[in-house]
Amino acid sequence: MRSLTVALPSGRLLEDAVRLLRAAGYRGPDGRDRSLVWQWGELTVIVAKPVDLLTYVERGAADCGVVGKDVLLEQAHEVYELVDLGFGRCRGVVALPAERRHLWEDPRRHLRVATKYPRVAERFFWERGRPVEIVELYGSVELAPRVGLSDGILDLVMTGATLRANGLVEVAEVFQSTARLVVNPVSLRARGEAVRELVSRLTRVVEGVP
């Protein structure tokens, strides 16, 4: 039987995800390996871009994956979200330039909002009945209000330093996010034992059970 394939996201969650696997007793190669496929004992570990991660898992190229809740909220998907892994904590917020924060006080005011999360933004504004124009960007969202591309942004914040550095202040929290373990629906059934083992080992670490 082929080993269980776990997809980890490159970028900010990778280091913590690797640490979690080690804490759960999986042994993988040390050092800064640039390879995208690792053999970790009974696990095959692949590294994918966070935006692509659900594609790997949903199509069964990976049985399981580690992905931020922010991505799960943004992308429609058919995977099982089984464990809150606790790390990668951040929030999605709406932020405006400090000198224009009053714009938020008027709920009928039409706002242009730049974001990497167009679906989340659409849902958030629609649920509150606030008119909005969404400007979809792929990076450096905080730049948009500075150059007049948008009135504000909807983006992730961890410490708030990026917001401050760009003269932005938070006006609303949209979601809270942590890394999650997701599982392909077929793997959950066809490889139930192996998936259960992984889930229980990770859960023990997350819950601090020795």
Partner: protein, 390 residues
């Protein structure tokens, strides 16, 4: 080409048709009749049939009079509309083959994909459910899908668990989390729920296989649903498919739609279910006919990816002819087609020899791929008509 849409080459289509053909023959053998409904229906038909579910996924168009129409995102609603409004008998066994459409592009998903499926209308019992389950297994096996597994769950059992959770204003939120398979949110909502119910809900992904029914019974919740499921399992025993069928109470399908047993089929090599369906006893009522119904829809591209059948293009006999031999060539070609051969006839320049059969002023030649040729006598041409190589 717009994203999410695709062409089918003759080779790809031959493979698809081969799989489709297996399913058609199986459905026919079980006494099901084919029905076709239009690709477009009033938007109102979809919202009536599907409830709140698909709004964003519909491919909506406006017709000349300003009427809103939508391309079909699935086939069950139109078949239900058809049966409720046009079908004279109370009982129907129908199947369909056709494309369905989605307005929104998921990650790398198609906006048009081929489906086939069955709807068995008019019987509410376990025997009708069992027939549909057994037909699902048989159809996939006939399509040469190895290692078919069909899981049986129950929408009523999930509802009963949610009812027993003690949630009030958050019940809808919990149901939506369950529908999204978001067990993290579900877990946080269930903090105050009775421990066994909370445990069962969070354990749904592994509540399957032998013993699952017994474990579920231990909760004392959803007895009616579990009784129904047990009756279906018992009725399935009569078909030679029981080894492919298992209880899987973790199957989560649309709550607005399914009222009883739900099923999904899996096979190694496909990361997503090959087919899905279940019992939907309240759908036809929305179109004015109160009748129970059960069915499933097959995702043909997924079956194609796992099927070992493979379709090959039937060979075509190439016939070339020089102008002076045209009448003779075409007369033979007509006979050959009438005899059931696939023949393409093409005019050729004088002296040109293409692989296949060549009618020339200087006689009839059989030409090999490497260009070598030999003359054919009339009896050789007759042999060709009988399907033998001269």
């Amino acid at each position: 080409m717009p994203a999410g849409l695709r062409d089918w080459t003759p080779e790809e289509l031959a493979a698809l048709r081969a799989v489709e053909g297996c399913l058609r023959r199986t459905f026919e053998a079980w006494g099901y009749r084919e029905v076709a409904t239009p690709a477009l229906e009033y938007l109102e038909t979809w919202t009536r049939g599907m409830g709140s579910r698909p709004a964003a996924a519909l491919f909506v168009v406006v017709d000349r009079t300003g009427e809103l129409l939508a391309l079909r995102p699935e086939m069950t609603v139109p078949v239900a509309r058809f049966v409720a409004t046009r079908w004279p008998d109370t009982v129907a066994r129908l199947y369909y083959v056709g494309s369905v459409f989605r307005g929104e592009l998921g990650r790398g998903n198609s906006r048009e994909f081929p489906q086939a499926g069955v709807e068995r209308v008019g019987d509410g019992g376990a025997d009708a459910d069992a027939e549909v389950v057994a037909l699902a297994v048989d159809a996939l096996r006939q399509a040469a899908v190895p290692g078919v597994r069909v899981g049986l769950g129950h929408a009523g059992f999930l509802r009963a668990l949610l009812d027993a959770s003690g949630l009030e204003e958050d019940r809808q939120v919990a149901q939506e989390a369950l529908y999204r398979r978001d067990f993290v949110t579900l877990s946080s909502l269930l903090d105050g729920a009775p421990a066994p119910v909370r445990g069962a809900l969070l354990d749904l992904p592994s509540l399957r296989g032998p013993g699952a029914l017994q474990r579920a019974r231990g909760l004392g919740v959803g007895k009616e649903a579990l009784d129904e499921l047990e009756a279906v399992l018992e009725a399935v025993q009569g078909y030679a498919v029981a080894d492919a069928v298992e209880v899987d109470l973790g199957i989560i399908r649309d709550f607005d739609y399914y009222t009883g047993m739900v099923l999904e089929a899996y096979a190694p090599g496909s990361g997503a279910p090959l087919l899905g369906g279940g019992r939907y006893d309240q759908l036809l009522e929305r179109f004015g006919a109160r009748r129970p119904a059960v069915g499933f829809a097959v995702h043909l591209e997924r079956v194609l990816a796992t099927s070992q059948r493979g379709g090959v293009l039937a060979p075509v006999l190439e016939v070339g002819y020089e102008r002076p031999a045209r009448a003779q060539a075409l007369a033979w070609v007509l006979r050959a087609r009438a005899a059931g051969l696939r023949v393409a006839a093409t005019p050729a320049e004088e002296g040109y020899l293409q692989p296949g059969l060549s009618f020339r002023a200087d006689g009839v030649w059989w030409v090999e791929r490497d260009g070598s040729r030999r003359p054919l006598a009339p009896q050789d041409l007759d042999a060709l008509l009988e399907g033998r190589t001269p």
